[in-house]
Amino acid sequence: MRRRRFLQAAGSASALGLAGCLVQDEGSTSTEPTTDDATTSDDGATSTTSETTTEATADLAGTVRVATYESFLNAPSESYDAPGKFVKERFEEQYPEATVEYTVPSNGLNEYIQRRKRGASVDADVYVGLNVDDLVRIDENLGDKRLFEGLDRGRMERASHVRDELEFGDPKGRALAYDTGYISLVYDERDVDAPETLDDLTTSPYKSKLLAQTAQGTDTGQAFLLWTIAEKGADGYLDYWRDLLDNDVKVLGSWWDSYSAYLDDQRPMVVSYSTDQVYANRDGQNMAKHQVGFPNDQGYANPEGMGVIQGSDEVDLAYAFMDFVLRGDVQQTIALSNVQFPAVTDEHVDLPAAFSDYAYRPEDPVSLGYDELKGNLSGWVEDWSRLVASN
């Protein structure tokens, strides 16, 4: 009963322009009632004043069309629903005159690129789920036409909360990260030792041990490939992969394929996410099979970003939405249900021990930015694919 009253209070308060503070408090308490101390984060305190000022000029009534990927809306997760529902409900609480309408382009961002290319309408205001390579592909395909606005970060209170290492390096500044994964190795310590370096993977103790994924269209597979390119250089990565292939690495079709094979004990090591133990802990699995390895003390950072579709006529709401996604409780929810790291720095989000004790960040996150990928990515992937397929 107490919570119900609280919600009503929040609703009326937001109309007075005090939403940021109150909703932040409400969000944290309701999701994670045991961590009341989280509400004292400075996030709420700083937002109160600035949001009042934004709202004075911004038009925050109407429908914001949020394009995203399926699992943001539908994917189940043991005790957490997909983040979509939470985000919509809370956003509409904070902005009572606003409605969030989700849309899932059937072919992902490619559909929008193709639409823009052919002059068909792109019926969305915000896109949630951008990767760096998406920006590269947009520019390679659209040339002068643009799909995303360059972001005016000054319009988002919390833009500055985002970790520096999650910048996309996009000269046009179109994307802002909202979460990130670190691609690492997951291994069964009963069968193999943690590889110290990437080069270890080409040595005999690791022969026929590793499961990877194709870089054609899978995030983890592409990330692992880019990691090896970052380390071995564009000239050396194919040689490294030749050695890996000689050492019988297996490259399957999707993260799911390889992870299923891993769970079925086909091989004791798989390219996966550094948050693996969060699941293992939830499911009560044997941790020995869910060890996370960071060869070279590295992991490949794979931030997911959001951006405003160029031509949106709800730009104000779009910015409000993105800013909202960076709010502490929303960051927490997305992190927990996607089992990814929040994009904001630690002081802006509170994570329960069930997450923070089991999710590991590499000491030395690696990633290739926009400039490095542009003009190179599809060639790298094609050359690599041919090497693997001809093997």
Partner: protein, 625 residues
Amino acid sequence: MSQSSTRSPSRAFVQRLVDEHALAVGVGGTAVVLLLVLYVPVGVVFSEAFGVDGAPSVARFAAVFTDDFYVGDLAGVLASPLAFDAHAAAIAGFVGGFGVRVATLGPIPYPAPVLPSVDTGLFGFTAWQALLSTVASVLVGLPAAYVLATFEFRGRKTLRSITILPFVLPGILVAAGFFAAFGESGLLNDVLGVVGLHQSLLETNPLFVVVLAHAFYNAPLVARVTTGAWESVDARMVETARSLGAPRRRAFRDVVVPQLLPAVMAGALLTYVFTFMTFPIVLALGGLQLATVEVWVYNAAQNLDVPTAATLAVMETAISLALTYAYLRYEAGRSGLGSAGVDVDRERFLPDLSALDAKRVAVLAYGAFAAVLFLAPLVALLAESVTDGTGFTLDNYAFLVQRQATGAAFQTKPLDAIANSLVFATATLLVAVPMGVVVAVVSSGRGRTRTVVDALTMLPVAVSGIVFGVGLLTGLVFGIDLPGPYTLKVTGVVAVVAAHAVAAYPFVVRNVKPQLAAVDRSLVESARALGATRVRALLDVQLPLVWPGVLAGGAFAFAISMGEFDSTVILATQSSTATMPVAVERYLGRTLGPAMAMGSVLLVVTAASFVAVDRLGGYLGGFDR
């Protein structure tokens, strides 16, 4: 003598109007659907293969033909066509590069396909794995057809109805089922472990497992198509042969085999075409090392390199259609062998134990093998849906219930997905069967032109699924500019059904047409002389006689709609129009359980509806087989 040939004038007038134009309407409707949902969208994509910078060119094909990555050692042949000596060696090496050796699993020998030792390129490997898969599917499917067609046993009809169940399963479920059944710690190893055996086929011979998975999908297809033909083998001809002194085996070879071959070949052809364009399953089980052409089509499409995707897809389609054409020439040379609608006498399988002869023991052995191949992945799937890391759980089903009860409007709800699947499948059945029958009727007859037309009716199965998807998206969903101020856009439920029907109708054609050809022409002519229009003669005489074929085609149409994924997602953009396979995919989070629960629901609902479709169809047609 002359007299009115009408009954009550007004009703008769309407009826005649319908009768006379129904075929024209059917042909027109079929043509419009095919044009809108297949030819135009796919044509637009294909056309990109034939141009470079806007000018017509075959340079893209030349590039593929001379790239050893694609065609292996044949690249040299096509690059410099006049160096004959070198080419003979290249071709010999290419052909000789394939092989099968005998490997052993514990004490059990099995045929292990050998990866080509010479460079056969992507196309060579693709063709090779498709050939192996086809042989495997025929070998596994034929005994099933034999058992279903010649023995009577409890549950036969149900078994027959659900034969094609594997055909509808989403790739993700089959891959998961195969891992859970045949993986290192899968069901099979649990059993083999008891007798001290342990197999690691996925590690030692992934191609063999991929071929098995293809057989899992396609052997049921071969079995279903062949069972129908086997049931319509004229028993009197066998008796005649035996009365002429032919021993049983000889009578089988001389009489039954020739009547079965067209159906077996049809099943083999479809299997080859499907496995030639296999995509997710080969990557899931075999990995990129066993990549096929379709993988490259997918990659190109993902990179928005539509011309490359189109070029490879055109080549796939050309190969598939050429094979189809060859098959149809062969079929045309033998039609008229089977006779439709003959009653079948079946032997009781096991009236008592004394009846257990060598033949029945062999059947039982086959049954055990089939149970392992087909049941293990399905059982493993069901098992995964009720277990988690620690043991038995109903959480995954609780998730389904909860999603149904509290899901948001933009979320996919299980009951909606079930209802949508059944509605789409039923609608597909109702559209695809008339389409297929109309095409079978119109394209019947002899001659090369007819055969070409007939081969073209197989286009939906011969077009890369990925290119079909790109065509639907960029064509129908984005809109195609028409002359004047018009734009053609087709989306929503009707478009989904149309796309499913287009994918399904070739199965109706292939099941109905040979049987239709076997119906004596004079039956139709008698009906027409008695006053029946072409359509009435079709409905009153031909269709009842080929009803088993119609039913088999209808079952395939239903199944294809049930299993369809891509065009459903592309054309039905709202969550409320998701089908069961779509729901399976959407419930895939970082844990497999909920998707497996939805997959189990899909399995059960699909199996039940197959039985219902078969029973209802049999009842409608007056057949009870």
